[in-house]
Amino acid sequence: MTATFLILAAITIAGTVAAMAMRNLVHCVLALTLGFAGLAALYLQLGAQFVGLTQVLVYVGAVAILAVFVIMMTQKPAQTTESIFSSFWLTGSLIAALVFAVLGWAIYSSRLTSAIVSPHVEAAVRPIGDALMHRFVLPLEIMGLLLTAALIGAVVVAIQEKRGSA
C-alpha cells in the first residue's frame, strides 16, 4: 500500500460521500465527478490505462453531463428547506452499514487475498483490441445493439409529445 494509493482512495471516497450527502444536486454531481476521476486514477495506477481513460470519457464526459442536464430541466428554482433524505433514511443507512460490515468481514477473512504475489502487468491497447475482435466479439456486438436500443429508448421515453398530435 503506497502513499499514492492512499491519496487516491481518500479523494475517491471523499468525492462519493459528498456526492451522496450534499444538499444542492449540482454540487452532488460535481463531487461525483471528483469521485469518478479518483476511480479512473486508481485504474491507471493498477495498469489499466484504457479502462481508466474510458472511465473519464464516459462518466465525466457523458453520465455527469447528462445528470446535470436532467437536474437543470427538473429542478425548481426555489430552495427547499425540508430534508434531502427520505422518510426511511435510518433503515437505509443501517442496511448499507450492514452490507459494508459483511463485505469487510468477507475480505478480511478470505485466505485467497493474502497469498497472491503481484507481477507487473499492464493492459496495452493492442491486446485489448485483439480480444474485443476475437474472443469477445459476440459481447461486443450485443453491446452495440444494447447501446443503440438504449439511445432510441431514451429518446422515445424523454421526447416531449406535441399537444393534440399524440
Binding site: M1, M20, V63, L66, A67, V70, V99, P119, A150
Partner: protein
Amino acid sequence: MSSLTSYLLVSALIFSIGLAGALTRRSAILVLIGIELMLNAANLNFIAFWRYGPNPQALTGVMFAIFSIGIAAAEAAVGLGIVLAVYRHSKTTELDQMNSMKG
C-alpha cells in the same frame, strides 16, 4: 494488509456509500447516481482482481470492466430519460411524492 485487500476494501466502501445514497436520498436523480456508484465499485473489483489474479494476460477483468462501463452508460441514459418523463407527469423528481400509479 496486501494491496488486493486494500483495493477490495475501498471498493466495498464505495459500494456501501452508493447503496446508502440509493436507499436514503429523496431525489430520483441521486438514486440513479447511487446505482452508478455501485456499478463503479464492481468495476474496481474487476480491475483489482485482474491485476492481482493468476492470469492477467487473459484480460478478462479488463474486458468485464469495459462492458460494464458500456452498460452503465446505457442505464444512465434510459434512467435519466425516465426521470424526465416522470417529471412531465407529476412535476417532481422526489421519490416520496411519486406515490400514485395514475399518470
